[in-house]
């Protein structure tokens, strides 16, 4: 196959994989849940986008017509990731998980929690 396609695909692949990795690394390393929540839902999703783009390009090139699966998957991920994050945040609030010291604007979370706690 032509060099530039291979190049693009490879770049997308590596970049995506790196982002995926960063997401998981963040999940493993970050201090508290709220910070951890960011890593997978953002970085990983982005990384997935990269990977899917790579595969979309490659498949389109190989099969000669536009391959839609990747688009579908991307769509799903893009729609669901925020909701997942939202739900997880809700559960975290419900469980009153501790937040690290370095968090700015703790009052926000406190207020949110008060609004959230059942009376």
């Amino acid at each position: 196959m032509e060099f530039w396609i291979e190049l693009v695909v490879s770049v997308f692949l590596v970049a995506g994989a790196v982002f995926v990795f960063i997401g998981s690394l963040g999940l493993a390393k970050l201090p508290d849940f709220y910070t951890r929540l960011h890593a997978p839902t953002k970085a990983t999703t982005l990384g997935m986008g990269g990977l899917l783009a790579a595969s979309a390009i490659l498949m389109t090139y190989q099969q000669g017509h536009l391959s839609l699966h990747e688009l579908l998957i991307t769509l799903f991920l893009l729609i669901t990731a925020p909701v997942t994050a939202h739900m997880l945040a809700k559960t975290a609030m419900h469980h009153k998980l501790q937040i690290t010291e370095k968090t700015v604007d703790k009052e926000l979370s406190k207020r949110a929690r008060e609004r959230n706690t059942p009376t």
Partner: protein, 931 residues
């Protein structure tokens, strides 16, 4: 003629009394007698040929492939026994008609009796050992029914159980022996077995076979030490005793000895066992009989002793002795049957069988008394009666044997002693009952029985006399024929005459007479002597044995089956382990010749994840939510493995099922304890762990061995014909909906049934709904988070689109009804989760049972549809069409079938999950708010 009918007629006759009972006693008795009489006539039609020494054989193929067929043979011995069985049987039928009271169910009695009769007939004319054994067991069972006929009496029940146990055990031993014989000879055909006597006697297994067969015979004909069941079987109605315990059942053992005489007899072992058992039984029976106060008890023990006599004769290994034995079989049957009937009459008319009360009946029932006296004299062996003749022959035989070497003289001596005792008890029977003063407070005032009740007795007694006076004319031929078939060679010269001149046997019987009379007149001292030791009642010993056996069994059950499922599972597992591990020891090396795939990093990672999360599931199995999370990881990895090893359909199915399972378990977990404390002891844990680990090793080994052995599969056919025959390129799906469509139909049916069962189980289940989670936190008020609800609604069409797409491509690319159905139901369940039941209710109006039903119906209809084009069930039709815009596309009837699968899956999953979810909707307290 048809030998089959000889046994078949009585067998059919078993039903007759049940039908004709309602027409009154006479009709019943008469109708019952018909069929046995017919088969007796059938037998008599062949007396001529038999007397000429022929044997009639007949074989009816039953299961030729297994070498099983019904084979019969009628020779002299069979003829003799048939005459006894059917002849005396008819007399008994007549007798029983008068004996039975109105309270007894006549039809039942006759049915049992005829059943027993046909079983006996079957024994004596069988020409196949297994067949013979089957009839043998049938006699045990039917005699059980007969003895326990008065089932309200505990004696009857106990006696029947004892008889069944003893004879049944003997029957099993007999079966073993017969199988062994068949093994030695290589055939179960009786002719062959009897012909190859030398082979058997020479064989190493001969002693075992002999002992086993003899066990069967001795238990049946009440030989020492198995004699104890016979007296207790006297609790039966007297016709039964008269029939079973004089002429037929107890004679079955003797018949067995005679039948196998050519095959088994002639060795020292045979002599030792048979003759000594016979001798002991003869003496013991004769001795005990003297002290019995019960009429039937006396007769029972005398029967035992006479059977012992016959056995002894058969044991002597001399041809003449065998002849004498056969002769005594006839005589004993005649006089003992008549005696039993007489005793029955006395019991019937006086209401008692106790000889201490029965006295001087001569003047009350002279007719019966005369008959009984004649029969008793014949039993005692008085000249001019048949008993005398066979006893003479018996004495003669005891004289000319030299088996015990220098001690051989003991046998005639002991024989004389036994004879003396038999004279004594015969005297007692006569004198105590019919003379000896006046009856003592009998329940009834004795009088003669009804006229026809005496007829059978008269006939038999007449026979006794006639045979006693003109033996040669009456039984000569019969005896010759019977002896011929017992010895299987020429019968030695024997003269059936009353007078052989003055010889030792005559002198011996004279001694016996004198001795008997003396014994009887000094019986007082004997009774006192006997009174010292109380003989152990066999019943108590036997019952004790039975009880202890029951206790033992109960103890075993208590340990094995203590009602704990946990324990059962463990035991089952242990068994499985043993059974599956054993063959592996033969497996020398488990790595086969198939080239193995290279290991790559992804595989290692996946395996690592799988193993760790599986173990984690186990470790945290008490914190249930946690173990559930690990479980879903395992499921994920498994489906990845399917994808990796080129099974995309499986990967898809596994994924969707896994999610559905997780949702199901979450739904259930809400009602169950969130976490439990440690319950089982460490010892228990380690044991369980060991066992399951061992099983894991075994399974793993098998799996590895299987993976590494080259594959020869039938799947090439499927791959070859998938496109041409099934019209699809996705072979897996084509197999599901076409090649093995019938299986799939079954599967979805099972699925539907399971779903319906669950639906019924859930109905009206009252269950505790926790108001706080396990940490004591109250649930949040926000029942349907807005974002989730909105996004789920917007995702629904997308998901449905995907499932339709998966369904449509299923025939040619990974996908199909199962997967599409699962996806659809997951999508809908998501709506339930996100928006709640109340939101769904107005939107999905179809109820899920209907979905299941229509799905299964559709699938079945597709199958049936192929009948219209007279093709076999579920054969697919497909064709290709061209549409503008869409292009080439294919229609296959398999697609409709797949649609049925789809609907069933959707219906089942939703029926299960939605109903499980609805369980709480009405009960949540905060349900009314913010709806």
């Amino acid at each position: 003629m048809n030998l089959l009918w000889v046994v078949l007629l009585p067998l059919i006759g078993t039903l007759v009394p049940l039908l004709t009972e309602r027409f009154g006693r006479n009709v019943c008795a008469f109708s019952v007698a018909l069929l046995p009489a017919w088969s007796l006539i059938l037998v008599l039609m062949h007396v001529g040929e038999i007397f000429d020494g022929e044997a009639i054989r007949q074989t009816i193929e039953w299961i030729p492939s297994m070498g099983l067929d019904l084979s019969f043979r009628l020779d002299g011995l069979s003829l003799l026994f048939l005459l006894l069985i059917l002849g005396i049987g008819l007399l008994i039928i007549l007798y029983a008609r008068y004996y039975l009271s109105d309270k007894d169910s006549m039809g039942q009695f006759y049915a049992y009796l005829i059943l027993f009769m046909s079983a006996m007939v079957g024994i004596v004319i069988s020409n196949n050992m297994i067949q013979l054994w089957m009839f043998w067991e049938l006699t045990s069972i039917s005699s059980f029914l007969l003895i326990s006929f008065w089932s309200h009496k505990p004696d009857a029940r106990k006696g029947a159980r004892m008889a069944l146990t003893v004879t049944g055990t003997g029957g099993l031993a007999l079966l073993a022996g017969l199988l062994l014989l068949g093994n030695i000879v290589g055939s179960y055909d009786l002719d062959t077995v009897l012909a190859s006597g030398d082979l058997i006697r020479a064989h190493a297994a001969y002693p075992i076979a002999l002992v086993l067969v003899l066990l069967g015979a001795f238990t049946k004909s009440a030989q020492f030490p198995f004699h104890f069941w016979l007296p207790h079987a006297m609790a039966a109605p007297t016709p039964v005793s008269a029939y079973l315990h004089s002429a037929t059942m107890v004679k079955a053992g003797i018949f067995l000895l005679c039948r196998f005489y050519p095959a088994l007899a002639g060795t020292d072992l045979w002599f030792m066992i048979v003759s000594l058992t016979g001798l002991i039984t003869l003496l013991l029976g004769a001795y005990i009989a003297l002290f019995k106060h019960d009429l039937k008890g006396l007769l029972a023990y005398s029967t035992i002793s006479h059977l012992g006599l016959i056995t002894l004769l058969l044991g002597l290994n001399s041809d003449l002795a065998a002849v004498a034995a056969v002769f005594h079989i006839i005589n004993h049957a005649t006089f003992k049957a008549s005696l039993f009937m007489a005793a029955g009459i006395i019991d019937h008319e006086t209401g008692s069988r106790d000889m201490r009360k029965l006295n001087g009946l001569m003047k009350y029932m002279p007719h019966t008394a005369t008959l009984a006296i004649v029969a008793a004299l014949s039993m005692a062996g008085v000249p001019l009666l048949n008993g005398f003749l066979s006893k003479e022959m018996f004495f003669a035989e005891t004289l000319d044997q030299s088996m015990l070497g220098s001690l051989s003289w003991m046998i005639p001596l002991l024989a004389t002693v036994g004879a003396a005792f038999s004279v004594a008890y015969s005297l007692r029977f006569i004198h105590d009952v019919f003379f000896n003063g006046e009856p003592i407070d009998l329940p009834k005032t004795p009088h003669e029985p009804p006229r026809y009740m005496k007829v059978p007795v008269e006939i038999l007694v007449a026979l006794c006399l006639a045979v006693g006076i003109f033996p040669a004319y009456l039984v000569g031929d019969l005896l010759h024929a019977a002896a011929f078939s017992v010895l299987a060679n020429d019968v030695p010269m024997h003269s059936l005459s009353i007078w052989h001149g003055f010889n030792i046997p005559l002198f011996m019987s004279f001694l016996a007479m004198v001795g008997g009379i003396t014994i009887y007149y000094n019986r007082r001292h004997l009774f006192e002597f006997q009174a010292q030791f109380n003989e152990p009642d066999a019943k108590y010993i036997f019952e004790g044995a039975v009880q202890s056996l029951i206790k033992f069994t109960q103890r075993i059950m208590a340990t094995l089956e203590n009602g704990s499922l946990q324990r059962y599972v463990f035991l089952m597992l242990l068994f499985t382990l043993v059974m599956s591990a054993y063959p592996l020891f033969e497996l020398t090396q488990n790595a086969g010749s198939r080239p193995q795939l290279p290991i790559d990093g992804v595989a290692i990672t996946a395996a690592l994840l799988l193993i760790i999360s599986a173990i984690a599931t186990v470790i945290w199995h008490r914190r249930r939510f946690l173990s559930l999370i690990y479980l879903s990881v395992v499921g994920l990895i498994v489906s990845l493995a399917f994808a990796k090893f080129s099974a995309p359909d499986l990967a898809l199915t596994q994924l969707s099922v896994e999610i559905v399972t997780i949702i199901l378990l979450l739904l259930a977990l809400y009602f169950l304890p969130q976490s439990t404390q440690k319950e089982s002891s460490n010892r228990r844990l380690s044991i369980d762990l060991t066992v399951s680990a061992l099983i894991g090793c075994v399974i793993g080994t098998i799996c590895f061995a299987m993976l590494t052995t080259p594959l020869n599969s039938i799947s090439d056919f499927f791959i070859a014909n998938s496109k041409t025959g099934g019209g699809g390129t996705n072979v897996v799906n084509v197999i599901l909906v076409d090649f093995r469509g019938f299986d799939t139909l079954g599967e979805i049916t099972v699925l539907g049934i399971a779903a319906l069962g669950i639906f019924k189980l859930i109905a009206k289940m009252r269950i505790y709904v926790p108001t706080r989670d396990d940490k004591g936190r109250p649930w949040t008020k926000d029942r349907h988070p807005l974002m989730l609800a909105m996004v789920s609604q917007s995702l629904l069409p997308l998901a449905l689109l995907v499932s339709v797409y998966i369904f449509l491509r299923g025939h040619n690319l990974p996908g199909g009804g199962f997967i599409a159905g699962l996806i659809t139901s997951v999508a809908i369940i998501q709506q339930y989760v996100a928006n709640g039941v109340l939101w769904i209710k107005p939107r999905i109006k179809v109820d899920y049972q209907w979905l299941i039903a229509s799905g299964i119906l559709m699938a079945t209809a597709t199958g049936l549809g192929s009948w219209i084009f007279d093709k076999p069930f579920l054969s697919t039709w497909f064709d290709h069409f061209h549409l503008p815009w869409v292009g080439e596309f294919e229609l296959a009837s398999a697609m409709i079938f797949d649609l049925g699968v789809y609907l069933t899956v959707v219906g089942a999953v939703l029926l299960i999950l939605a109903n499980l979810g609805k369980l709480t909707t009405s009960e949540r307290v905060d349900n009314k708010e913010n709806v």
